[in-house]
């Protein structure tokens, strides 16, 4: 190979958790030693996490992938790049790897491809085209485009994004806000993190479009404190957008202002609930507010506020760039577009799979996931986070679609999928759901605050063989109270995993104690 060799080593935190930083250092040192002119790009992750650290090199045929790479491989890799020789970790052209080739990456189009903090790279890969189009449109037209795309809230609740925006737009002029809920606290989810670490400018662009659409001049990203790497990337990206005139008092000379600030959460799961997040942004305890009023009417500091999840906002630029119809053409039923599914837990090929709605859970688990990591049969799958139901094998052929999942008593939520093999004790998982709710309850309403603690106690009694039928009936009744009597989704949805465990895996509650 002649000239400069361009090599990509992810700065994504999952890649770093497997040693990507050490690999980057080793490759740099080895290239210097061997006299290879190497340019190192720190990209996001391609989302093939079982292959991290996944290193790529630019070739005339496209980028070639190698993985999982360890620092010890630096010498042989540099030698292979110098001579064009073969390497044991060579995975071929990255885009041809079936796991990637079969995906439909709209929101994740640039993640893993570009340098996340380079404005030039972002623009060279179709970035900021959505904003440029939006600037020439009226607020009503932008909102109409988003509404017609069929985009629904990707944080889990699946509320139509355009309708939320319309409500804010319709409020009288005055201070309005755009807030991004980046408190991705659900186990089994990492798509928000991947976007923020791998393509933060798409989120910034989406928020700017939202601001211009509804007349909001200030935006906040509420980021969980457990994501320090995302924080560093976002800070750099916001700085780059400001320097480039894409944020600030006069966005791209449009005469419209949009100021964006990053705020760090403090480890309370409940602050992923929108009203609790707003309280937290106001500097208070993250206690849930009673609705109405809706945040779109009285939100942050009592002002009309858009509250959207990271993926919802990051999906807006492609909709504005390519049009509502382009996005709406993906998907099925009332679930339009794509969802970045996250394969997690006991799965062989864990990672990110962005697909149009409609493929089945089984396809996701086996065609992409390759079955369990342990090699044992998959027994239960929790979809949609800690508040989502456990789905048994008999329901694996359900299409991944909001309504189809509701029909089987489950939630699609944000598309996080946690896999469990046949060693799982579902009574213990049900107990954990209650325990988690007790730890994270904000304390404002009784069904959640007290119910969760009583729930864990009752499950302990059942496990101990104490008046089982009586206590099982009590547990069902408690679930009903929490479901119908809680103020928000934490207490209101904690029964989902519990009830699904009771329904599909009842034998686990009745084991010999």
């Amino acid at each position: 190979m002649s000239g400069q060799t361009v090599v990509y080593v992810p700065r994504d935190s999952s890649a770093l958790s497997m040693g990507a930083e050490e690999v980057a250092v080793a490759l740099g040192a080895e290239a210097a030693r061997a006299g290879l002119d190497l340019r190192l790009v720190r990209n996001g992750s391609r989302g093939l996490y079982w292959l991290e650290p996944l290193v790529e090199v630019a070739t005339p045929e496209g980028r070639r992938a190698y993985g999982p790479v360890q620092p010890d491989d630096a010498e042989s890799l540099v030698a292979a790049w110098r001579t064009g020789g073969a390497h044991a970790l060579d995975l071929g052209v990255t885009d041809e790897i079936p796991y990637l080739r079969q995906q439909e990456r709209l929101t994740f189009a640039r993640v893993g491809i570009t340098d996340p903090v380079s404005l030039d790279d972002y623009i060279a890969h179709e970035g900021y085209r959505g904003l440029k189009r939006a600037i020439a449109m009226s607020g009503e037209e932008i909102v109409k485009e988003v509404t017609e795309s069929g985009l629904r809230g990707r944080g889990g609740a699946a509320f139509p994004t355009g309708i939320k925006w319309k409500t804010v737009l319709d409020q009288p002029p005055g201070q309005k806000y755009v807030t991004c809920n980046a408190d991705e606290g659900d186990s089994g989810t990492f798509s928000d993190r991947m976007v923020m670490e791998g393509d933060p400018l798409v989120l910034i662009e989406g928020m700017t479009i939202a601001g211009i659409a509804v007349g909001a001049t200030r935006g906040y990203i509420y980021l969980r404190v457990e994501y320090p790497d995302a924080r560093a990337v976002l800070e750099q990206a916001i700085g780059a957008a400001e320097a480039g005139g894409y944020l600030g008092a006069d966005v791209l000379g449009s005469g419209k202002a949009f100021h964006l600030e990053l705020r760090i959460a403090a480890g309370a799961y409940i602050c992923g609930e929108e009203t609790s997040m707003l309280e937290s942004l106001e500097g208070k305890r993250g206690e849930v507010r009673v609705r109405p009023p809706l945040p779109a009417i009285e939100g942050l500091f009592g002002r009309p506020t858009i509250v959207n999840n990271v993926i919802s906002l990051a999906s807006v630029p492609v909709i504005l760039d390519k049009g509502a119809a382009f996005y709406r053409d993906y998907g099925m039923g009332r679930s339009r577009g794509t969802l970045p599914f996250q394969l997690a837990g006991n799965v062989r090929h864990g990672g990110l799979v962005e697909k149009a709605f409609g493929l089945t859970l089984r396809q996701l688990l086996y065609d992409y996931g390759g079955g369990s990591a342990s090699g044992r049969p998959i027994r239960a799958v929790q979809v949609g986070g800690p508040l989502g139901a456990y789905v048994p094998e008999k329901d694996f052929d359900t299409p991944l679609d909001y309504e189809k999942f509701t029909e089987i008593g489950a939630l699609l939520g944000h598309g996080g999928v946690v896999v469990f093999d046949d060693t799982v004790d579902m009574a213990q998982m049900a107990r954990y759901a209650m325990e988690f709710c007790a730890i994270e309850s904000c304390g404002k309403c009784t069904p959640c605050r007290i119910g969760s603690t009583r729930g864990a106690e009752v499950i302990d009694r059942i496990a101990a063989g104490d008046r089982r039928e009586e206590h099982l009936a009590l547990l069902e009744e408690l679930c009903d109270t929490m479901l119908n009597g809680s103020l928000c989704g934490l207490g209101g949805l904690t029964p989902y995993p519990v009830q699904s465990a009771l329904k599909h895996f009842r034998a686990d509650f009745l084991r010999e104690s």
């Binding site: 186990s187 089994g188 457990e226 403090a266 309370a268 106001e282 997690a344 006991n346 800690p386």
Partner: protein, 159 residues
Amino acid sequence: MQILDRTTHETVIGIVDRLKGKEGALLPVLHAVQEALGYIPPEAVPVVAERMNLSRAEVHGVISFYHYFRSTPPGRHTVHLCRAEACQSMNAKALEAHATIRLGVAFHETTANGAFSLEPVYCLGNCALSPAMMIDGRLYGRVTPERFDAVIAEWEKRS
């Protein structure tokens, strides 16, 4: 109640004055105090409250609500071990048992030599590479008991 020593007092005052103009400034202020001091000393509460025109109860209420804020000094390094579902599906409970024995502390405790504080965490976003842990902001994936020991030994050398 004890009062802060002069330097610490000035640090806290400096932070409040720098940040109090922000909208909803209390969380940024508390983060900055914890970043500077490692924790939020109870004696700092009246200082922050007075300077921000809030009641002590309001400031204390916020500190005690959020898991991340701590009122006692941490060890030199903080180990956050994930207890959430994805990690559980990959034997996080066994790792938890191993970690408490290896470090000789339970959750929310600090080792006698002051090297490590052990804290539970509910998801680090590394769910495809479970089980996961974080030490001082550095993330680790696929943490077997053996890898846990190796990583801890590495950090022991640093402290």
